[in-house]
């Protein structure tokens, strides 16, 4: 097994993937998110986004305060479709 440093478990994104993208000039977290699909998997960004923010801060010299957090969306945890449709169904 190779020694990958995983940032996003949902999509197997590594530290190197994020760094490479930043080096190519993409430094907006919203753009990084969409190109690497970070935060778009079933964990909804809970594990990965803080790591991306810290990598971005380190690589660009920006303060974490200045990096906006991608918007949290409904539902904030995955919900089975049948539950949303058949509410009250035991």
């Amino acid at each position: 097994m190779s020694g990958k440093k995983i940032v996003c478990r949902c999509n197997d994104v590594t530290v190197e993937d994020v760094e490479r993208l930043i080096d190519s000039g993409i430094t907006d977290i919203e753009e990084i998110k969409r190109l690497l699909r970070i935060g778009m998997g079933p964990c909804q960004g809970r594990t990965c986004i803080p790591i991306v923010i810290s990598i971005l801060a380190r690589k660009t010299g920006r303060k974490p305060e200045g990096i906006p957090l991608p918007k949290a969306r409904v539902p904030i945890r995955p919900v089975r479709v049948e539950v949303l449709v058949g509410g009250g169904d035991e």
Partner: protein
């Protein structure tokens, strides 16, 4: 791997049942999660990742990280860390992205169950419980929901005694505080409790706030109220190092859940990353459960948690390696070794200082961050404040966020302690009742007492740091 005796905790198992893992029968107990039962049976690999087919196992144990997805009774993407076992359940490892079953019937469309109250409290940990008790005493009709099957939040996993003053439960173990608060809650007739109920979103519909929630993963509920207290606690941070996704690497909270909630040992030999209070307390809890702790590594030049917690594990033989970091985990399908190394003054690894520990568990206790998803989703102003653990909602002295009627308390308002969470919960509960015009002015006094207690608690070196962070937040409100 199951714990039979423990110096502090007693474990009560449900009825013994059988589940099938890839066809193999496994003993389980009703009331425990699938991941717990598999873990007790020594099964570490729960699925293989979608792109790289990397083995993955339990990591967060609270349904958040997606590392434990499996196919259960033919249905893919089941979070086995929060799904309870049922007799005869068939469980298979999931290999990457899943296919939906080919045959299915469309479900009936039905209205959700509606629950109304004055104040909806999300989270039944120390902050939420205190908010509920005080809001109810102030005259509000309260409904409290919590994801877990028991109240108390993280308190139920804490075997150590709490600090602070006597009226703040100092000298009482976390598990016991949870029991006391639960008893208080149940004495009050104007509090309705919903367990195993997860809030998944907040919608504002005029003056009313709708908290959409799911009970037991199968029932949709609409909680409607005029004020909300969000006391959703915290979640653990993760750090990147080589093979940081290998099964056998857990968040500290996951180990506490396995060990102290379900009575299952996480493994035999553990390396802990992080010597803050969580890492130190975890080390002690592991020793109490009869697990060997090989070492605690800490990148900072000093112990970050309370010295007394460090001294407790040092005298039981656990080395604390300050200025050390974890380089990588090694192992084929699960952790077999951990490699650490020393850091220099510039946080760079000093060559030649690598040390290998033969461990089967790596516990990450590298910090917590507030669970603010609901607050962010509903549109509260969010600000990054390092002292408070990361992104937090901006709030005033009454714990009210920038969305009127939405209050916060506890770790979701900033990482601190159960003691301060309880005081913040008291403030938020009273403040919400005051804002709704339910509580009369005399309640302001109680709120101010709690504020003074907080100030006193935060007057030491640890608390001053927090107070700095809170000042930044309050400056934002005034601006």
């Amino acid at each position: 791997m199951r714990l039979n005796e423990h110096p502090v905790l007693r474990f009560e198992h449900g009825r013994e049942i059988t589940i099938y893992f890839e066809g193999r029968p496994i003993r389980a107990y009703e009331g425990e999660t699938i991941a717990t039962a598999l873990h007790a049976a020594g099964i570490r690999v729960l699925n293989y990742s979608p792109n790289e087919k990397r083995p993955r196992g339990l990591f967060c144990a609270i349904g958040k990280c997606s590392s434990c997805l499996m196919v259960v009774n033919g249905i893919p993407n089941v979070r086995t860390c929060i799904t309870l076992v049922e007799d005869g359940m068939r469980i298979e490892r999931q290999h990457g992205r899943a296919k939906l079953p080919r045959e299915a019937k469309p479900p009936e469309f039905r209205d959700a169950k509606v629950v109304t109250a004055d104040i909806v409290i999300i989270g039944g940990g120390p902050a939420g419980l205190m908010a509920a008790i005080h809001a109810a005493d102030a005259g509000a009709r309260v409904v409290l929901l919590d994801e877990n099957h028991m109240l108390g939040g993280q308190l139920v996993k804490q075997t150590h005694k709490f600090f602070g003053k006597r009226e703040q439960f100092a000298g009482v173990r976390g598990v016991e505080i949870a029991r006391i608060l639960e008893e208080e809650l149940k004495k009050r007739e104007n509090i309705e409790i919903f367990l195993e109920t997860s809030a998944v979103g907040i919608f504002q519909e005029g003056d009313e706030k709708l908290v959409l929630a799911v009970r037991k993963n199968r029932e949709l509920l609409e909680f409607r109220g005029r004020a909300i207290v969000v006391a959703t606690g915290a979640m653990e941070k993760m750090i990147p190092f080589e093979n940081n996704d290998l099964p056998g690497i857990y968040g500290a909270g996951a180990i506490q859940t396995l060990m102290n909630t379900y009575g299952v040992k996480p493994g035999d030999r553990v390396l802990i990353v992080g010597a803050g209070n969580v890492g130190l307390i975890l080390a002690y809890q592991l020793i109490q459960a009869g697990v060997e702790v090989k070492a605690i590594v800490e990148a900072m030049p000093k112990v970050g948690g309370y010295f007394v917690h460090a001294a407790k594990v040092r005298r039981l033989g656990v080395p604390i390696l300050t200025r050390h970091t974890i380089l990588r985990a090694e192992g084929k399908e699960k952790v077999e070794r951990a490699v650490v190394a020393q850091l220099d003054e510039n946080w760079q690894v000093t060559p030649g200082t690598e040390k290998t520990f033969e461990v089967d568990v790596i516990a990450l206790a590298v910090g917590l961050r507030p669970s603010i998803e609901l607050l962010h989703q509903v549109g509260c102003q969010i600000k990054y404040v390092r002292e408070l653990g990361g992104h937090v909602a901006v709030r005033d002295e009454w714990m009210e966020t920038t969305v009127r009627g939405i209050f916060i308390a506890g770790d979701s308002a900033g990482i601190e302690e159960a003691t301060t969470a309880m005081l913040e919960g008291k403030i938020a509960g009273i403040a919400a009742a005051l804002r709704l015009g339910i509580a009369n002015e005399s309640w302001v006094k109680g709120l101010e007492t709690a504020q003074r207690d907080l100030d006193e608690f935060r007057s030491g070196p640890f608390g001053r740091h927090i107070a700095d962070g809170i000042r930044k937040i309050l400056a934002e409100v005034r601006a």
